[in-house]
Amino acid sequence: MAQPSTAQPPADVVIETRGLTKQYRGTLAVDGLDLRVPRGSVFGFLGPNGSGKTTTIRMLMGLIAPTAGSARVLGSPMPRAGRSVLPRVGALIEGPALYGFLSGRDNLLRYDSADPTADPRTRKARVAGALDRVGLSAAAGKRAKAYSLGMKQRLGLAAALLQPRELLVLDEPTNGLDPQGMREIRGLVRELAADGTTVFLSSHLLDEIEQVCTHAAVMARGRLITQGPVAELAAGTRGRLAVTGPDPAQAARVLAVHGVTGLTTDGQRVTGDLPADPPDLAEINAALVAAGVRVRGFGLERASLEDAFVALTGEGFDVAG
């Protein structure tokens, strides 16, 4: 019965922007963005701090009006269709914001009562469920003022999970969390995605995106640099062959004979780029063994998203745009 709807082209895309642009007093925060987020994906929205991610999210959520261009969320134009679109979207924007004098539970009750489609009869149960889901049940009665940053982040996530959502927009959801909390959030994101929710996840942490996302877009200085499935983005840069063993010098010699270029030796580890027309890796391995090179590890290292990013932008990732 439940199949991912694939028939209608518009239903395939949950977020689509055309030439989306936002100008703040002369500076272009977002410049001609054409973004397509496929339904059912976990979409990583990647870029250094200040690259325009949050501005884009605010435009998608109807909080700010674009200077030019258009945005469609769940098939309807934003911000015009906000009243019908936003109840189906859960959002965490630029960190959680809470009423410090209210308890965690009362914060959620307040946010839920602002949703026109939320049923007041199930409100308490849904709030309890959301608190449970982010592991905050025990602290639900405490004033939010006393929460740690990680707890606030969880409460913000709980607010996004008060209703079943079609789309979750999570802006830097693991900010302020310890490694254990980050792992929990990643698990939660995977779980939600498995339920069919599209998750739009912005982050400046590459490994976070790489671990959970199926698709990604990269922004720098307000412009979209690339977007697509994570595997394709990483494939844009070829992987490197890595050989580990106690005879790195000999290994390098054998590899050079087989056309491997750009060889670098780092202790016992030799890495190099395969030629454009790569030979069978098994042949290279056999050649190493035949030459009496002792090999402990042998394999192709897939390019990471970080390599892809550096290749695309030609600069380090942490440079603020």
Partner: protein
Amino acid sequence: MSRAEPRAGQPGPPPAGDATGGRTDTGADAGVVAGPATGPAAGPVAVRAPRPGWTLGLFRSELVTVFRRRRTQALFAVLAGVPLLVGIAVRIETRNGGSLGGGGRGDGGPAFIEQVSNNGLFLTFAGLAATLPFFLPMAVGVVAGDSIAGEANAGTLRYLLVAPAGRTRLLVAKYVSVLAFCLAATLVAAVSALIVGFALFPVGDVTTLSGTSISLSAGMARALLIALLVAASLVGIGALGLFISTLTDSGIGAMATTVGLLITVQIVDSFPQLHVVQPYLFTHYWLSFADILRDPVSWTGIGKNLGLQALYAAVFGSAAWARFTSRDITA
């Protein structure tokens, strides 16, 4: 509503799975049922339609949020304390049976203060006359100034708007809560004065400003009417504060600006040389509530006051709406 689902004629209780709060697959199933994307809004969770009573829920949430703030409770404490102080001061002054200042300070203290020692009910009038020029409007300025700007400052505004509360609706809810605060604040001052007056002084028939005498119960009815008029006198500054609140992301800034404007207006209203503008100042007819204590009641000043308050509410309410519905929420 934009999404009148043909088959959801009833308000549509959510799928049973909702009640558990857990995300069951009902949401996703429903989406496939609603499948063929004929309308722009058709999609997995599209079955949910806005509920008729939700605006009331938003209002209630707004009121609870305003009244649970420590600051609101502190303001109430101050407003309850003023009549208490006035009552105790008058009681000490007149302890030996003397009358208060013997007319020498006729216009030194608030109106009605001389009659308090003879009739405790007058403490209600005196208390309102003492708090209306500054304490009450200051309290309203604080609450109204903070209403939007404070939420923007805390960042909670963006979450209310993506919930989505709707900008117009949220603004109306905010103004309603400000008006509720005007009424509650006035009643706190009035009831405190009533209790203190009855506790410290003799009570009896009320002598009106026209010299006639009315029964105590009629006097109390007029006291209630006065309290309502005083609350209505705060409608204008409430709208002004709300407008200022939409201009900035700083709650403190909006409060300070509103209270500063109040003081400026009070000063302008006290210079005879500026009489040309005075009829347009929202404070100008505030003390007209005393006309309730005439026999018969004189309605002219009261009518002017109410009309002016309505004008302020309309002008600054529209300005607040125009600003708030078009502005970028960047906080």
